[in-house]
């Protein structure tokens, strides 16, 4: 029906196919994770980014907004309203650092600390949903971390 030469409209056209793009594979996987987490987090009235903040605080309570932002790669424009919602939900408290009133220190409430127990359950469910062995998960995660680092380091700008 078509000749060999007519397979693609331009010589390298296939290179632009969605299925070939690493960025789209990452984009899709991020959405897939979000959708998998959603029903689990809905129970607790949490969104996925809010859950990430709690993960950070379970490791290290009492961080400033800036520090949390560095951990998650988010700025205060994203975190300020998100933290207010976490506070309204009763999982965290926020207070100005008396030693430097510019900073706001974020701390888990008793309710927020209690939630950590549930996180292990969620973790197990997610692990199961990925269908990956711990080894596979580790390798994929490390590869993505290397990729992220290289993309972030790139000074190419515009």
């Amino acid at each position: 029906m078509t000749t060999k030469a007519a397979k693609f409209d331009t010589p390298t056209d296939e290179a632009l196919a969605l299925g070939r793009q690493l960025c789209f594979a990452v984009y899709s996987a991020a959405h897939a994770f979000n959708r998998t987490y959603k029903p689990m987090l809905d129970r607790f009235g949490l969104t996925y980014p809010q859950y990430l903040v709690l993960l950070a605080l379970w490791q290290q309570d009492g961080m400033t907004v800036k520090r949390i932002g560095e951990e998650l790669g988010l700025d205060s424009g994203t975190l300020s309203p998100l933290l207010k919602r976490l506070e309204a939900a009763g999982y965290i408290g926020r207070m100005r650092d008396p030693a430097d009133e510019r900073q706001v220190i974020v701390s888990l409430t008793e309710s927020g600390r209690r939630l950590k127990t549930e996180a292990f359950t969620i973790l197990a469910q997610i692990g199961k949903a990925t269908g990956c062995s711990l080894e596979e998960i580790g390798e994929l995660r490390d590869a993505l971390q290397r990729l992220t680092r290289r993309l972030a380091d790139n000074p190419q700008g515009d």
Copy 2:
């Protein structure tokens, strides 16, 4: 200073560390891609999701909104306003399918088709920014596609 047993507050505490989470690695990589694409797409007044729609249309012009949604994993609630903005920018046209007035057919304008040339340049820049070989990119992409499929297939719900 600390005993062996006191290394972690609970036996499996380290499992919750952000750096250990595959989901967070994916989340961070998605943001890193977005930030890398942004200056390149800003030239053309495009956002990354808008660029994805164009990628889809360059492969197959004249799709319906629903079909585009299937390609990208997005619903009409996301696509409707996005497509209006692409239309306002002059890259696409939208018209009701005369054979089924429920459907809207999305087509590239001449300006939208012209943009395809630039996409090859962007692709090359991104490839460079990842610092990955074509082989590495392919492997990582395939691993992510398998992961996404398994997450999406999972019926676990709540």
